[in-house]
């Protein structure tokens, strides 16, 4: 196929349909087969919610789910506060040494997950001798979430119109008031998007969690990961579906919030902000 024809809308559209099918097929398959009555395999034995009721009585999975949410909420909160302050500093102030801070953030983004995982386990267990627990997991999650918050909030703030601040000052607002009444509300969609991103990344982490978790701190990804060692099973399909639905709900709430915010004239969470 020559490039000449490749960029025609008709071919592009066909391509788009195929890519979307590729992106969603595995997820849909997983969800559909979580309602399969059969014990294993891909034989369709009829619709059933059996695996969900099994799941409801699976205390280990439920506990892992609760722990995952706890870690994600606390880590997201801390990372959002820390990251937002950093993003404000990097966009609103000119000072020497900014590139040093950017380097720190850059390192935390490009360092491979496995390296962060082993370095944190070495740090906690051999250098500072902290017992691995849910707290060490939270500390680790904050570490890899901060940069995502910074990037997203920064993107939002750099599109910020500085004349608004001048206008506020002209109208008699002091810098603190201007910040609270002008800058913060305008940055809120960006902060919310950053927090959402941090939350889903925390919710999903396997590698770093597995190295920083103590014996009693199995999160849901760890639970799923260790169950997979015993092979594929429909109850994991059901569990995965629950996780997917949770994340989707969150995304919908975030999306609705951003639409509402934009109707109020605050500006939508630009979908590209997440990239």
């Amino acid at each position: 196929m020559s490039t000449k024809s490749a960029l025609r809308p008709r071919y592009l559209k066909l391509h788009a349909v195929l890519v979307f099918a590729f992106l969603f097929a595995p997820i849909i398959v997983l969800v559909v087969f979580s309602f399969n009555q059969a014990k294993s395999g891909t034989d369709w034995a009829g619709f059933s919610t059996h695996w969900y009721s099994v799941l409801r009585h699976n205390e280990a999975a439920l506990q892992a789910f609760r722990k995952t949410l706890k870690v994600a909420f606390i880590a997201t909160f801390l990372a959002t506060v820390i990251g937002t302050l950093a993003a404000f500093a990097l966009t609103r102030f000119q000072f020497r040494g900014r590139s040093g801070y950017s380097t720190l953030i850059f390192i935390s983004l490009v360092i491979p997950e496995i390296v962060m995982a082993v370095s944190l386990t070495a740090f906690f267990s051999r250098l500072v001798h902290v017992e691995l627990s849910l707290n060490t997991v939270i500390a680790a999650h904050v570490t890899f979430c901060i940069a995502f918050v910074v990037v997203v909030v920064k993107a939002r703030l750099s599109a910020f119109d500085n004349r608004l601040i001048e206008a506020a000052a002209d109208l008699g607002a002091n810098p603190f008031q201007a910040f609270l009444r002008i800058v913060l509300p305008l940055a809120t969609p960006g902060i919310a998007a950053g927090a959402m991103l941090a939350f889903v990344i925390s919710l999903d982490d396997v590698v770093i969690t597995s190295f920083t978790a103590g014996p009693g701190s199995t999160t849901l990804p760890l639970y799923i990961f260790s169950s997979l060692k015993f092979g594929v099973s429909p109850s994991i399909n059901a569990l995965s579906t629950v996780v997917l639905v949770t994340a989707l709900l969150l995304l919908t709430i975030g999306g609705l919030y951003s639409v509402r915010a934009s109707r109020r004239g605050v500006g939508a969470i630009d979908a590209t902000t997440l990239g």
């Binding site: 000449k4 960029l7 809308p9 592009l12 391509h15 788009a16 890519v19 979307f20 590729f22 992106l23 595995p26 997820i27 087969f33 820390i82 302050l85 950093a86 500093a89 990097l90 102030f93 000119q94 040494g97 900014r98 801070y101 950017s102 720190l104 953030i105 390192i107 490009v110 360092i111 491979p112 997950e113 496995i114 390296v115 962060m116 082993v118 370095s119 070495a122 740090f123 051999r126 570490t143 901060i146 990037v151 910020f160 500085n162 001048e166 000052a169 396997v206 590698v207 997979l228 594929v232 399909n237 995965s240 997917l244 989707l248 995304l251 979908a271 590209t272 902000t273 997440l274 990239g275």
Partner: protein, 308 residues
């Protein structure tokens, strides 16, 4: 520029003008306010990022201990861990990681660019809907998406069943092959390519394309000489966002691969767990970090760091 997720340290800031001093100035000078706001970040990163990373660097020249995992002393730096990490048993794993990640990145460009282009240029009113369709998998658990492929690709999985039903034989081996791991990496990181590409295509001035046609360029020439150079910031960000996590990935080769398809991430994992050789694992970690940092540096230098 600011919407791409990677920011190099030396990249100049977006063209935001410095806050102009209006009549009333904040009591704190900029440098004080900036450093103060960045204090939590720097404290957190120094303690939980820099020190742990330096610890791994130190461990990479340490010695295996009997009671503690690593014995490190300045007087006795053990370089043999690096020799072991690069010996014929482990070197192929490094190469394999690089080529898996490279092939996946190229596939992501080939699949992602036309899609991003179509959404940006022909998406019309539904553009945001299409974007959400890209973002949903992006925000969906990576582990679960890889598990879904395991479910599909396994011996008695859906793919074999479908192939069997249409008479192509239902007993193929997909898992533990190069195909499965590259498929998983491509699938897993594709949204990381599409989103930044979309962002820069969307910002591209459409009249550039028209001008190129008016000046007598054909479609091919316009694609390579106008469109691709203009969207290169998104392309560069996409390549980095796919390659970096792919080369050190652990979950994909663990779920879709096996011994033959082991990547460096799994190897490091093993050294810190079952293998119980922390110094060797640390040396591999340092090599992986060096690979990524050098790769990023060279790549950004070659394609121009103004793009980031």
């Amino acid at each position: 520029m600011s919407t791409t997720a990677i920011d190099t340290p030396e990249a100049p800031e977006a063209p935001e003008p410095p806050a102009p001093p209006p009549g009333k100035r904040s009591r704190l000078p900029d440098w004080a306010a900036g450093n103060l706001l960045l204090l939590p970040t720097s404290v957190w990163f120094v303690i939980l990022l820099i020190i742990p990373t330096l610890l791994v660097v130190a461990y990479s020249v340490g010695q295996r201990g009997l009671i503690v995992p690593v014995k490190f002393s300045w007087g006795n730096l053990v370089w043999s861990n690096y020799r072991t990490a690069l010996n014929p048993r482990f070197l192929p794993i490094f190469w394999r990681s690089i080529w898996y990640a490279a092939v996946s990145t190229i596939l992501c460009v080939l699949i992602g660019f036309p899609l991003a282009y179509w959404i940006a240029r022909f998406g019309g009113r539904l553009r945001n809907v299409y974007l959400v369709l890209v973002i949903i998998p992006f925000l969906t658990s990576y582990l679960i998406r890889m598990y879904a492929w395991q479910f599909i690709l396994q011996r008695d999985g859906l793919l074999n069943r479908v192939l069997g039903d249409i008479g192509l034989g239902g007993n193929h081996i997909f898992l533990n092959t190069n195909f499965a791991v590259i498929l998983g990496l491509t699938y897993g990181f594709l949204p990381f390519m599409i989103l930044p590409l979309y962002a820069s295509i969307e910002r591209m001035d459409k009249s550039l394309v028209e001008a190129s046609y008016d000046l007598g360029h054909g479609k091919t020439s316009t694609l390579f000489r106008v469109i691709i150079p203009t969207v290169s910031p998104g392309l560069i960000a996409g390549v980095l966002l796919v390659f970096i996590p792919a080369v050190g990935d652990f979950v994909t080769p663990e779920l879709l691969g096996g011994v033959k398809t082991q990547m460096i991430g799994n190897t490091i994992y093993d050294q810190f767990t079952s293998g119980n050789n922390w110094p060797l694992g640390s040396a591999m970690s340092v090599l992986l970090m060096a690979l990524i940092l050098i790769g990023v540096f060279v790549y950004v230098r070659r394609v121009g760091d103004d793009a980031l």
